[in-house]
């Protein structure tokens, strides 16, 4: 990545991304609570509880943080603000929050009306978001690889949600949804939307915050096209000929991303920090998830735990611990500068969220991963894993909230 590509003057108001980043951990905590009361969520892929937990994590936690991060990164990368950014942020946030809650309640209780209303709300919300962000991406003059990845991720999200809503309609709003298209929905959501966006963000934030060398130019140019082309080819071939052979392209792309990130992290020159630890775990877990796909037999739950909790959640946690303190610092710096106050009053990143607090969360997250993986083979641990997920997510929320408190305290102190 290059700082020349960044236009931090275009950074939106802090509330635009922060409302998403502070809401997301609450959905993850809710997923943990569901597992505590319905431990069968970790026993079979096709229970209502499993579907509810999966969508609390993918829509409530992952999509929520990614929508927030996109609204922050896009104007900074492209140099142009999203139209009516505060209004867009508030509307999409409400739509995503209410839509996810309704859909998940519908899944958990097998309630057709709630499933239909939740799907409709999410379709409207995602469409609005995709149109606004899509137009901004098309207008972007930046040729930065992250901008291309964001566009690809958005397409994958639309395909995911269309497949999901199509499945719901096909089954006349009844769970579960055992169908050949279900795997396509899962893979377009996880390998398409989640990985593509994380790759795009990684091009930026891994070198910037983890002080690694840049990702190789060739990789920045071809990895996302390879991944998405692989998914598209696999989808068509699977439906037409019932074979998964083209999926090897997707596996290749995922492994290359994980291996390159780990390799870059080995070449960094500083002492480890929490984000680095989270990202190392994430890349190892991504490799594990790929291995779970390659194992003979059905290992959907193992793949889900490794991918969603192990890879995606770890990567997002690590990212949040850099992005949130940095944004708070940036906004404090800008606000105090505008009021003519010397920026020495602005707390540093470690004062915004303490290293010890983040490290505590990291240890709890590792415990959660261990418990969740063990629970797949030893179901008696499922409730404990659910409790660990809930507590870990609440600790993440608390840590981020402390950052927001520092922001308010410094602003208040600067104006009295």
């Amino acid at each position: 990545m290059s700082y020349t590509a960044l236009s931090l003057a275009q950074t939106p108001p802090l509330a635009v991304p922060l409302r998403y980043l502070l809401t997301a951990p609450l959905f993850a905590a809710a997923a943990g609570v569901v597992v505590v009361f319905a431990p069968e969520a970790l026993l079979s892929r096709w229970t209502p509880a499993t579907l509810a937990v999966t969508h609390l994590l993918t829509l409530g936690f992952l999509a929520m943080t990614m929508f927030g991060a996109l609204q922050q990164l896009l104007p900074v990368l492209t140099g142009s603000r999203l139209p009516h950014a505060p209004l867009l942020s508030a509307l999409v946030h409400i739509g995503l929050t209410v839509g996810t809650i309704t859909l998940v309640l519908g899944m958990g209780t097998n309630h057709a009306v709630m499933l239909e209303v939740g799907t409709l709300l999410l379709l409207i919300t995602v469409d609005i978001f995709a149109v606004v962000v899509g137009i901004a991406l098309l207008r972007a003059r930046s040729a930065h690889a992250t901008v291309g990845a964001m566009g690809g991720a958005l397409c994958a999200l639309l395909i995911t949600i269309l497949l999901g809503s199509g499945l719901l309609r096909h089954f006349e709003w009844q769970v579960p949804f055992i169908h050949p298209l279900t795997d396509l929905h899962v893979m377009w959501g996880l390998a398409g939307w989640v990985v593509t966006l994380l790759i795009g963000v990684a091009w930026q934030v891994v070198p910037m915050f983890q002080l690694t060398p840049d990702y190789p130019r060739l990789l920045r140019r071809f990895l996302v096209p390879l991944l998405l082309a692989g998914l598209a080819l696999w989808s068509v071939v699977r439906l037409a000929f019932a074979t998964d052979i083209p999926f090897v392209l997707v596996i290749l792309a995922l492994l290359v991303f994980a291996a390159t990130t780990l390799w870059l992290q080995l070449r960094r020159r500083r002492l480890p920090d929490v984000t680095l630890s989270f990202w190392r775990v994430a890349m190892v877990m991504l490799s594990g998830a790929v291995l779970a796909i390659l194992l003979p037999g059905e290992h959907a739950l193992l793949f889900g735990v490794l991918f969603i909790l192990g890879f995606a959640m770890s990567a997002v946690n690590g990212m949040l611990y850099k992005i949130v303190p940095f944004l708070i610092w940036l906004h404090l710096n800008n606000r105090l500068q505008q009021s003519g106050q010397w920026q020495g009053r602005v707390p540093n990143m470690k004062q915004i969220i303490s290293e010890a607090a983040m490290r505590r969360h990291y240890r709890l997250h590792l415990l959660l991963l261990g418990l969740a993986l063990l629970a797949l083979f030893w179901p008696v641990l499922a409730r404990t894993a659910g409790a660990a997920l809930a507590i870990s997510a609440l600790l993440l929320w608390w840590n981020l909230w402390q950052g927001r408190r520092v922001y308010r305290a410094v602003l208040h102190g600067a104006t009295v």
Binding site: S2, M208, R270, Q343, G344, N348
Partner: protein, 95 residues
């Protein structure tokens, strides 16, 4: 006699390079210029420097990717020395 103050922020994490660069700039005495060694072009720094009354020139570095020469506006001696030092390095167009 102009004096060069060297500050290497190439292994610091954002926003430390910015805060340390600004603090070091503020400490410059008459005739001094700051030679900042950075891993990248510091896009946030420039507006901050202008607002505080500093001028700068950016070059591609030899040891690190980017070097920024910073002096107080109106300090002709520092400006001349900084520009002479910057001229020894290649342009930073590709950064």
């Amino acid at each position: 006699m102009a004096r060069e103050v060297v500050l290497d922020v190439s292994e610091l994490e954002p926003p430390e390079p910015l805060t340390q660069s600004l603090a070091a700039s503020e400490r410059l005495e008459r005739g001094d210029y700051l030679r900042l060694l950075h891993r990248r072009r510091p896009c946030l720094l420039y507006d901050n420097l202008v607002q505080r009354g500093f001028a700068s020139e950016t070059r591609a570095g030899r040891v690190v990717a980017c070097e920024v020469f910073i002096w107080r506006v109106g300090d002709d001696e520092a400006a001349k020395a900084a520009r002479a030092a910057a001229a020894m390095l290649p342009p930073a167009d590709h950064l």
